[in-house]
Amino acid sequence: MSKASSIPVKAEQGAIARFLASDIVYSFSRSKLTMLAAAITLFYFLMALFAPLIAPHDPFDLASLNLLDSLTPPMWEEGGVAQFPLGTDDQGRDLLSAIMYGSRISLAVGFASVAFAAILGISLGLLSGYVGGTLDSVIMRIADIQMTFPSILIALLIDGTVSGLLPQASREDTAFGVLTLSIGLSFWVQYARTVRSSVLIEKEREYVQAARLIGLRPLTIMVRHVLPNVLGPVLVIATINLALAIITEATLSFLGVGFPLTEPSLGALINIGNNFLFSGEWWITIFPGVTLAVLVLSVNLLGDWLRDALNPKLR
């Protein structure tokens, strides 16, 4: 597949036609569930991207909040108003807007941490596989040790430690970076292992030997020639990891060590609502919860499909 695309015979139009005729597009068009999941995921992306334009209120603008509006139920319940379709939280924030902005934060952290983990893992995996020797053993032993512990524990620990080192007051500004770092660092091992094992196979191939013969530098061979051929499995891991990263971020924020309550992600919203579950204000928890669950489920379905579609054994 990727080898074919490096033949510069056909024009760009040919590339698109070839893509449309590929197995992946075929398997996509055969599965209604996958199409639904893709549509929902796309809907979330658009909602997250355009949240500032389409959200009825700005939940971060504390001046626009009115405490008298707090804990308004959804509009179809008794006491609800059309101004706040899904009700408000304890500070009078419009829940619909908060959910839109919250999804934006959740998706942004998800993508950033997956990108960070992938770049770190791919680089270490390439180095480990291509260079070998002591470097390989050191990287893989670190990976082994990290694999012993569940990623949520590692993320929690890194998050707690880094937050402890930074002053409390700056939490609003640093939350994004700290979360991306801790989630990213807890996920890199899988990429490194997968890439390393593919590289071990690829580097014995003739095209790598040819590249070496014509005197290319190892770095060029790794990035330009080996990397494109090991990216398939990485894509699958990244999709499934996106769902995991979103869950991890939500969990950390729910536990009160992620995003601050002034800038709530979906997890932080659920955390706010959890305090009001017993007094009957169920909507603050349930709506963000359902939003989160649907997002993760859609991404998981896409990941499952991609794994099967890219697996030549199942064709």
Partner: protein
């Protein structure tokens, strides 16, 4: 075989040393221990005296040895936040976490294996399809959300079960157990199911795919051709061979259960180690964090070691591989 065991054992010790090093670095370099222990009015002289007394002026390597020596005696210092010995605080909460985790693992195994076998044998029945769909939803729902939904339905709406604490406990020797009182058992239901759910889906899916794999093999066809009963083929031959990977994964998952207990304990205000650890993370109470990390690290390494050795004991193919590798 012996060489394999020794190598595995040495590897475990190495992992523990790394965990100890991380704990020590946390303890020593995240915030100043002296600042955390004394008030603002303490003079510089007094601080220096305390520093000397705690051995913080020694070379770092010496301090590390002291830290490990302390850890071996279960001495992790005093909590910054509660001003109590950390070891005693953890010991007090350990039974709650262990009872919750063990019950969850039992639930996950007892429900997960039969569901997986059924879904593997009757792959196209509507019940199997429902199991698979529900399990995908189960994987997609974060555990804390499942806990909240349970509380919303069973505690708030129906008011059947308590949503926090572990009810009354009975002391057996030094061990406070919740298994012997009605309120203790009631309090266990929601948290243990919440904690079990993720492992349950995992075990079910694993058993199903292993069953599908095994049922395709020649020896199953041969067993059927010999005219063995359906029961003997499915359970005596097929299930038995799926259990090796299931055992490994389940064993390794025991560690995850203890880690996920942090989340479940927070949702249900369960007075266990996980809740203690989370409060420590929120308040940067480093001695508790370090001690918890060491304890969890030890449990993980122990579980991994036991699973590896069991694996060798159960599956003869690995023994041959290990021999060839030497």
């Amino acid at each position: 075989m012996l060489a394999f065991m020794i190598r595995r054992f040495l590897q475990s010790i190495l992992v523990m040393l790394v965990v100890a090093l991380i704990s020590f670095l946390l303890f020593r370099f995240v915030g100043d221990p002296v600042d955390q222990m004394v008030g603002i009015e303490t003079s510089i002289d007094q601080r220096d005296a305390l520093r000397q007394q705690l051995g913080l002026n020694d070379p770092v390597l010496v301090q590390f040895f002291h830290f490990i020596a302390g850890a071996l005696r279960f001495d992790f210092g005093i909590s910054y936040q509660f001003k109590q010995p950390v070891a005693a605080m953890i010991a007090e909460r350990f039974p709650a976490t262990l009872e919750l985790s063990l019950l969850s693992v039992v639930i996950a195994i007892v429900a997960g294996i039969p569901m997986g076998v059924y879904a593997g044998l009757k792959r196209d029945s509507w019940l199997s399809r429902m199991f698979m769909t529900v399990s995908l939803v189960g994987i997609s729902l974060p555990p804390f959300l499942v806990g909240i939904l349970f509380i919303f339905v069973f505690s708030v709406q129906l008011q059947w079960l308590p949503s926090f604490g572990r009810g009354e406990t009975v002391l057996i020797g030094f061990w406070p157990t919740g298994f012997l009182t009605q309120s203790g058992l009631k309090a266990l239901i929601l948290p243990s199911i919440t904690l079990a759910l993720f492992q349950l889906t995992l075990i079910m899916r694993l058993v199903r795919s292993e069953m599908l794999e095994v049922l395709r093999t020649d020896y199953i066809k041969f067993a059927r051709a010999r005219g063995l009963s359906r029961r003997a083929v499915n359970f005596g031959h097929a299930l038995k061979n799926t259990l090796v990977p299931v055992m490994t994964i389940t064993g390794l998952q025991l560690g995850s259960v203890i880690a996920f207990a942090i989340i479940t304990e927070t949702v249900f205000s369960w007075p266990g180690m996980g809740l203690l650890f989370l409060q420590a993370v929120q308040n940067v109470d480093i001695p508790i964090m370090a001690a918890y990390l060491m304890l969890i690290g030890f449990l993980f390494v122990l579980i991994n070691l036991i699973v590896d050795l069991l694996y060798v004991a159960v599956d003869p193919r690995i023994r041959i591989d290990a021999r060839q590798a030497n």
